[in-house]
């Protein structure tokens, strides 16, 4: 197990490198630079700025320098937000996104898994139909529709919760609900599907035949293998959740990473985008590793490597 973990952690190095390299090339290919503005900067101004940020060197030199700095954990200055470094921006925004993402995930799991299980136990029952209809509604309602609806109802009509902002606890409720809703719907449908795969299996019948109580059969035998698709889905989903959602952060004026990342791409804030990509890539790797470990624990058959 230890060797497996170490091996996987070692694998993140080439992953990070490949991600950074591709992203580096991509963002340089995009037209317009960080200092392309509605009002033309003079050629001299652009030259000064490029020199200041080292953008006047040949691109390969910049690339090597970037990797060198990266090794020291230095993500460089932001080009757009002149007095802040990318490290500072991530340090400011990640905790916000993490908090929002964790709340949304909690909500999604708390709603999605029980709903999916209940639905799977009595397929095509009224329960099932109700839950799955709700889930489908959740899926077909994008967050940029759901969010405003929640705001109109809870903030503007009832006046219970703030419409936007990120200062006190009530501020967290609506963004977390909006962000979590679609994931709850996904999880409900995927856990239902996963359970339905397992329930007809021979070992489940055997367990029932042995006289185990219905609940015991589910908890001991069905739940773990039945959740495999949900867990596979959760790796990337969680990584996406905790690193922020552009739409939800914009809808509720939440100062998180997701909106920074997209706005950074629009601003051609090269160092900000690259820094976020590095960070995001690391988070993805960690969560996918976590998922693989979890899958192995849930079902020994799932171990891709013998040596776990």
């Amino acid at each position: 197990m230890k060797r497996f973990l170490l091996g996987r952690i070692a694998q993140t190095v080439p992953v990070l490198w490949a991600t950074v390299t591709i992203a580096f090339v991509l963002i340089r290919l995009a037209p317009g630079g960080p200092f392309t503005d509605e009002r033309n900067y003079t050629a001299e101004s652009i030259q000064r700025l490029n020199a200041h940020y080292g953008l006047d060197d040949p691109v390969p030199v910049q690339y090597v320098r970037y990797l060198g700095r990266l090794l020291h954990g230095d993500l460089g200055p932001s080009f757009k937000y002149a007095n802040r470094t990318v490290n500072e921006i991530i340090a400011d925004t990640f905790p916000v996104s993490l908090q929002l993402g964790a709340l949304a995930l909690l909500f999604a799991l708390a709603m999605g898994i029980p709903a999916g299980i209940v639905a799977a136990l009595k397929p095509h029952s009224a329960w099932d139909n109700a839950v799955m209809t709700l889930a489908l509604l959740g899926i077909s309602m994008p967050s940029f529709v759901l969010g405003p609806l929640l705001v109109m109802f809870f903030s503007l009509r009832l006046g219970w919760l703030p419409a936007s902002g990120w200062e006190s606890w009530p501020d967290r409720v609506l963004p977390a609900l909006t962000l979590g809703a679609v994931y709850a719907a996904y999880i409900a449908r995927m856990s239902r599907a996963g359970m339905l795969e397992i329930l007809p299996m021979d070992f489940v019948r055997t367990a029932r035949a042995k006289g185990l109580g219905a609940a015991a059969v589910i908890v001991r035998h069905v739940l773990k293998p039945g959740m495999i698709p949900v867990v596979s889905f959760l790796g990337p989903a969680t990584a996406g959740l905790v690193t922020g959602s552009f739409v939800v952060e914009t809808l509720f004026h939440v100062p998180g990473m997701g909106s920074m990342f997209v706005v950074g791409a629009f601003n051609r804030d090269y160092s900000l985008v690259l820094g976020m990509v590095v960070f995001y890539s690391a988070v993805i790797s960690i969560f996918n590793l976590g998922v693989d470990v979890a899958l192995g624990a849930m079902d020994p058959r799932m171990r891709s490597h013998r040596r776990i």
Partner: protein
């Protein structure tokens, strides 16, 4: 449950036909798509005919679903927009389905080092900045709809691949797969005939989940300049525009949203029927 070769198409249809909701779903989907494909014949107005003085008007006998802010008939725009959205929904999902299932199955079935490498490639692709990717695609190759499918396919297959891999990892240890291996069947045959049919449930569900994502993703891509350009439209764009004005003109959000939801419900029933028809373990039931 033991060795279960895939069913031949006629039996498949036979089994599918017994699923009433699925048939209804198929009928609704057929209706929606033919209304869109033959939009020029059905649409009461040209989709780009403006009436600025009229502006956004609530549904009336003249304009059944109302008009948008430039006074264009929403029903006509919805019908025409469906052509793009259905094409994107079908093609984008198919691309992600084929790549995702093939890649995930190969990765999971082989396991070991190849699995590691393939999954790390997925990790790399997850982390790339999508907006930048779309902008670069557009600038390097120019604007066209095929590119949009490429962009969508490039992101949407990743999660599918991870899900399929997870399922296949579990199934490849099943006795019937081991048995097939002992019998000396080729890996391709085992993968296609014995492994894949048994992951069909989650695949069908995730596929039906992918369709709305793809349709809405198209709106974002169009926003970046790669996809559909005004005065053309799509469901995704109409919903997006509707959400922009939902405080003032709710019908502009409700009708496109309702049509998308209707299509998804229908699709979902079809998916259920398909899964029941394809999945070997539901052989004796229904």
């Amino acid at each position: 449950m033991t060795l279960q070769p895939a069913r031949t198409p006629p039996r498949l249809w036979h089994r599918f036909r017994r699923h009433r909701a699925a048939i209804a779903g198929l009928a609704v989907l057929g209706l929606i798509s033919s209304a869109s494909v033959f939009a020029p014949a059905f649409a009461p107005y040209p989709p780009d005919a403006q009436n600025l003085e009229l502006g956004a008007a609530a549904p009336s006998t003249e304009h059944l679903l109302g008009t948008d802010v430039l006074g264009r008939d929403l029903l006509s725009r919805l019908l025409h927009g469906g052509r793009i959205s259905l094409a994107v929904g079908v093609c984008g999902t198919l691309v992600s389905l084929i790549i995702g299932v093939g890649y995930g199955a190969l990765s999971g079935y082989t396991g070991g080092r190849l699995d590691d490498i393939m999954m790390r490639v997925v990790d790399v692709l997850y982390a790339l900045p999508f907006a930048v990717l779309v902008i670069v695609l557009m600038v390097v190759f120019g604007r066209n709809l095929v590119l949009m499918f490429v962009a969508i396919g490039a992101v949407e297959w990743l999660t599918m691949a991870r899900i399929v891999r997870g399922q296949v990892l579990a199934i490849r240890q099943e006795p019937y797969v081991k048995a097939a291996q002992v019998l000396g069947f080729s890996h391709a045959r085992i993968l296609f005939l014995h492994v894949l049919p048994n992951v069909i449930g989650p695949v069908v569900v995730y596929t039906t989940l992918t369709v709305p994502r793809v349709i809405l993703l198209e709106a974002f891509i169009s926003f970046l300049g790669l996809g559909v350009q005004p005065p053309m439209s799509s469901w995704g764009l109409l919903i997006r525009e509707g959400a922009e004005t939902m405080d003032s003109f709710p019908w502009l959000m409700v009708f496109p949203g309702a049509e998308l939801a209707l299509a998804l419900f229908a699709l979902n029933f079809v998916g259920d029927g398909l899964r029941d028809a394809l999945d070997p373990r539901f052989a004796g039931k229904t």
